[in-house]
Subunit: 203 residues, 2 copies
């Protein structure tokens, strides 16, 4: 859809997402969002009554996108290691297209921790489901006995962290070379997958 064909509301939401994700709520300016959307400030308030309400719309959406769709992949009938590979691949791909998502969400949930409870409650995700799926594999003897919660946190952490830490990784580890960072990201799907499988595979 061409830029000028979008509805004004859509233009605002797209612009707000760009600015909020880069600057965070406190750093974002309504003027900058208006400029990005190529409209004027007053229109922002016509469509969304306040900065808060506009932010809520963006955050809710971003958080849903950020939440790993790990459950869906776990539901498929593939063997565990293939599920794992599929999840890591799709999650890192999504983050590559939304590189600011991790640091944005992490910052905002720390700024306002209460907010997320309501959002997640509404999403219908249940943590027990995931835990049980992993426990099942342990009992079946496919993987070593691991505490599910730690395994889940480890997987998510290794996927997210490289995006949040880009300035350090690229600027410090790779002498500020964007190409080296891109190469690193490309390798990562395979590296993370095999790192995890190596760790939990039954010996």
């Amino acid at each position: 859809m061409a830029e000028q064909d979008k509805t004004t509301e859509k233009k605002i939401l797209d612009a707000a997402k760009i600015v909020f994700l880069e600057k965070g709520f406190d750093g974002a300016r309504m003027q900058e969002i208006a400029d990005e959307a190529k409209i004027n400030k007053a229109l922002l308030h016509y469509y969304f009554r306040s900065k808060d309400k506009l932010f809520d719309a963006i955050f809710k959406d971003a958080f849903q996108q950020f939440l790993p769709h790990i459950a869906e992949i776990m539901m498929t009938e593939k063997p565990l290691f293939e599920k794992l590979e599929a999840f890591i691949d799709s999650y890192i791909t999504m983050l590559s297209n939304n590189p600011h998502l991790p640091s944005f969400v992490m910052h905002e949930i720390n700024r306002n921790p209460e907010r997320i409870v309501n959002i997640i409650k509404g999403s219908g995700i249940k943590p027990e489901f995931l835990e049980m799926a992993i426990q099942k594999e342990v009992k079946a003897g496919v993987i070593m006995p691991v505490k599910p919660i730690h395994l889940i946190v480890n997987i998510i952490a290794m996927c997210l962290f490289p995006f949040m830490a880009r300035p350090i990784i690229q600027g410090f580890m790779f002498n500020d070379s964007p190409e080296a960072y891109k190469k690193f990201l490309a390798e990562r799907k395979k590296e993370v997958t095999s790192f995890i499988i190596n760790s939990i595979r039954k010996k």
Copy 2:
């Protein structure tokens, strides 16, 4: 040292650290820092000419603290797996005492990526050193052939992430129970260490 015995400068720095780490630069208010330090706003500007300069002092300090002192531990003569255990233990302990450090640093380096280059340049840390240390262990046959950079990123990621994601982990995974979250953190040193060693140990 009792609160009232501290020099004014120290009181300001302590207060600023608390407020900046919780709210970030954009969310922090000079008034709140003054209140926290139990002095008035004008005195802040007397000691540090601007919010920017005060922030710089805090950030530089926080970032140094945040940078894993992984190199020092690698220098010791212990076997690799013991070094690994020692590092994870000391890093998670430090973060437990500074739980806001990870999300603060991550947010601020994304808000202003250029800044960190200068800070790291001045710290004298060299990434090659770490890479070589890991390569040596690979050649010596102690561990599986792994790409050093990915291993390093994985280790740091698994240490930091639980602190940044506390609202999600505690609020969602643990039904908002601080006790369950604390227990989870306590388990984590052992879990992360064995997770890594399991993955890279020569089979």
